[in-house]
Symmetry: C2
């Protein structure tokens, strides 16, 4: 009956296995591999990538897709079959638009650029990175040309991470968002600062690990289907719906480093663990877009992990783990400490109120680069001018400015907006969950995270990649992505924290 679909499914499963195997190699590299293993590992990962890409972009895959599509014509839009064909047709179109030689050259140039960027940042010397960046900008523009776009080359790149989203949509959302953000930050800056010294009281790492694991297990991270390890940069990866890994970075001094890292990565991980089991082994398994993925990590990191209700439950655990460091602290003091807002130069250290402003700055700069309005040589000045305009301060050096992010050295342009979209979506989705079940905050205060996680699983996680981010958001909230809810969330919360 479904012989052609089955042939497609088998080929896609084989390719999926290669991709998952490569993810295992990457995980091993980031968590335990000895230094000597680097060269061979790069070679092994390159071989797996190449085989996977060749198998996927082969004409045979296209033919299997066409035949399966004909066989399954009329299948329900939400069915696994129709969804697999629809999503993979788009994947196939995306993958085959970039010439093989271009992909190989791009991979090579990013591999070369990464250490150059790292050295330039360490030495606060943009000039060292400029030639490599110029090449990568040229290649990003070329990639946009290969992928194709109607209005703006940026559309082509953004669409790789947030399928179907346009530059104009993002620009409209950010235009509405930015003035409200700037106003809020100004108001907070004028208010007395909160006291967060408790977070810097010195915390043994064993205790941090036990506490972090205890809390994310309560959130719903399933340790029978996942593990936690240490890495230099925290991340989440998966090799199956039932094998999802998170990593943590510890600071003995600052307990927030590991704790909010745990919550963030567990948010990503529960999205992967929450997929319907019948998607296992198919390219439909996995988060649908970077923005939706980030909505889940930010939900648990910020909306839950920095809420008054959460700390009502968590403080006794925290005090039991670290009695000396937390002797006189109340839940209210913890709540205020973890919600400190401060203008700073570095995006990854930014709090949830200032974070999106860092993103809007990058979005504007990337657009100008891709249009050809801004040259690499002029980037530091453009960055610093805009930073002064947005934040009222100027980075003292390029390591704290234009060189801070790894993304461009990895060839990732059009990626940054998804962080801000994730913040907005986290509140839109949480509000939808609240409308369905207004008792969620009380449940959180009692350490019961099941209602919230189950709602997210039902409405988002289980679907994997079946629906785009835009489709999911429309289904869940009855409207598209917007910044209104997020601004309202920030204004309410920080009006309270800072008594504005």
């Amino acid at each position: 009956m479904s012989q052609k679909y089955e042939a497609l499914r088998q080929r896609l499963s084989m390719i999926h296995d290669l991709n998952m195997a490569n993810a295992v190699l990457s995980w091993d590299m980031e968590t335990v591999m000895p230094p000597g293993g680097s060269a061979a590992r790069a070679q092994q990962m390159s071989t797996l990538s190449r085989l996977s890409h060749e198998l996927f972009t082969a004409a045979e895959t296209g033919e299997l897709l066409e035949r399966a599509a004909a066989e399954m014509a009329g299948a329900d839009y939400d069915s696994d079959e129709a969804s697999l064909i629809r999503v993979v047709q788009q994947d196939y179109a995306d993958a085959t638009r970039l010439p093989v030689d271009f992909v190989a050259e791009f991979t090579k140039q990013t591999a070369l650029a990464h250490p150059v960027w790292a050295k330039a940042r360490a030495e606060q010397d943009f000039k060292q990175f400029q030639p490599a960046l110029e090449r990568l900008i040229d290649m990003a523009r070329a990639a946009a040309g290969y992928i194709g776009y109607t209005d703006h080359p940026y559309d082509a790149l953004l669409g790789q991470y947030e399928r179907g989203m346009t530059t104009q949509q993002v620009a409209d959302i950010f235009a509405a968002h930015r003035p409200a953000l700037v106003e809020l930050i100004a108001a907070i800056s004028a208010a007395p600062q909160v006291d967060d010294r408790v977070l810097y009281a010195g915390y043994p790492i064993d205790g941090q690990r036990e506490l972090g694991k205890r809390i994310v297990q309560a959130f719903g991270f399933d340790f029978d289907r996942g593990i936690q390890a240490i890495s230099v940069h925290p991340f989440c990866t998966h090799f199956s719906i039932n094998d999802v890994r998170i990593t943590t970075r510890y600071s003995e001094q600052y307990v927030g480093e590991s704790l909010f890292g745990f919550f963030h990565e567990a948010g990503h991980a529960m999205y992967e663990q929450g997929q319907a089991q019948h998607l296992e082994g198919l390219p439909l398994a996995g988060g649908t877009s970077l923005g939706v993925h980030e909505s889940q990590s930010r939900l648990w990191e910020n909306i839950v992990g920095r809420s008054r209700e959460f700390w009502a439950w968590a403080l006794p655990l925290f005090r039991a783990a670290f009695p000396a460091q937390t002797a006189d602290i109340t839940a209210e003091q913890m709540y205020r400490a973890v919600n400190k807002v401060e203008r700073s130069f570095i995006r990854v250290e930014a709090d949830e109120a200032t974070y999106n402003l860092h993103i809007i700055l990058r979005f504007e700069i990337e657009q100008a680069i891709l249009k050809g309005d801004l040259r690499a040589a002029d980037l530091p000045e453009a960055w610093n001018t805009r930073f002064q305009e947005f934040f009222g301060m100027t980075p003292p050096n390029d390591a704290l400015g234009v060189l801070q992010d790894v993304h461009w050295s990895a060839g990732l342009m059009g990626y940054f907006p998804t962080y801000a979209l994730g913040n907005m979506l986290s509140v839109q989705y949480y509000n939808a969950a609240l409308r369905a079940d207004p008792t969620i905050p009380q449940a959180i205060a009692a350490g019961n995270f099941e209602p919230l996680r189950t709602w997210m699983q039902t409405h988002i996680h289980q679907h994997g990649r079946k629906f785009t981010g835009a489709e999911l958001t429309q289904r869940i909230t009855g409207e598209g992505i917007q910044s209104r809810d997020y601004i309202h969330y920030l204004q309410t919360k920080y009006g309270d924290v800072y008594r504005l």
Copy 2:
């Protein structure tokens, strides 16, 4: 100039990368994978195996081999080029002799048999395992037919692990070996037993790990090119000459479990780390045979790790790590404790004096099975009768007898002799090193393991798979493998330990 050779090398490197990637997946599975990951991991490993097998056995590989062989005709026997072609021609012949369907069915039957065997062993009930074992015996006989042999079907299976070695050779060696072993064990059994209570004094695992790592680092295991982790069954694996992993199993009660496990696996690991760097990425990298590999693990575990000289150096480290457990112990007492000989039912717990007798028993039984002289149903009785004859005692149940080893359930027949060959070769190679440098024992007593390791690297490790075990042994010792040196080693050592 060497265009055809280069084309061959590239294809073989790609296949090698797939195999190494699969080894990473296996390592991850054995060391950290959560239970939920099993099903997807089995699928991923099966996909990588199948791709690797298809690419290797394809006609194209055969053609590349032929063309490269013609191009490289006359190259020096020891050169990388001639060696690669020679070794891979044999690999190719071996791999293509087994029909693809047979390999798939064999993989399936062993996957099915493993849990059946585990349950039968746990419940001491051979009958449960008998039907699966009958199928695997039939398949082993079929495999021998596919592979081909002149004298004995056992030749075909043995040759998979010890290329070029014949059943008759092993039988001759064992025939000379067995009476001397039996006589020695009888003499030891009649002598007063040594006191090894110090090894069972209770040892915290953190201290065991630090001590084990300290010692194998002194041996020469390079932690910049390898790591150590925990697993249920200790093993060594590698993904590169510069990424070699070992695992350890700890017992809080018995310190010898981890300590000699460390030495054993480090011996395997130093063989892999010691390969010439220009073999990296080629199928020439890796130990040449199971017997030679085992010679290196047994060298460091037994000849070094259970020597008087080693304990002269190691006792102060041991006492510093565990002062309470080792308060009144002398180096001489430690030396005697770690060399306790005891007849026992279980091969993997056997000491170096009784070990080979366990192997000879299995060798005789496997030959009878493959010839068709012994049926699965009659195995328990045949085992127990022979065990009584060899050891003077009868296993009280089949878990301590015919069901104890995992090998047959994994389809591994013809594998056991390599353990005994490894023991013999360890002494032959050590004696050759001593002839070249008689100061090696004094160096060991001073904690300097460099002369011994360097000799092994120069004469064995660096060559990878270029030479067969037989070729290596001839080059190093001027003769073939023999049991004379091993028996002399045992007689001298245990004559001393047991004051015979």
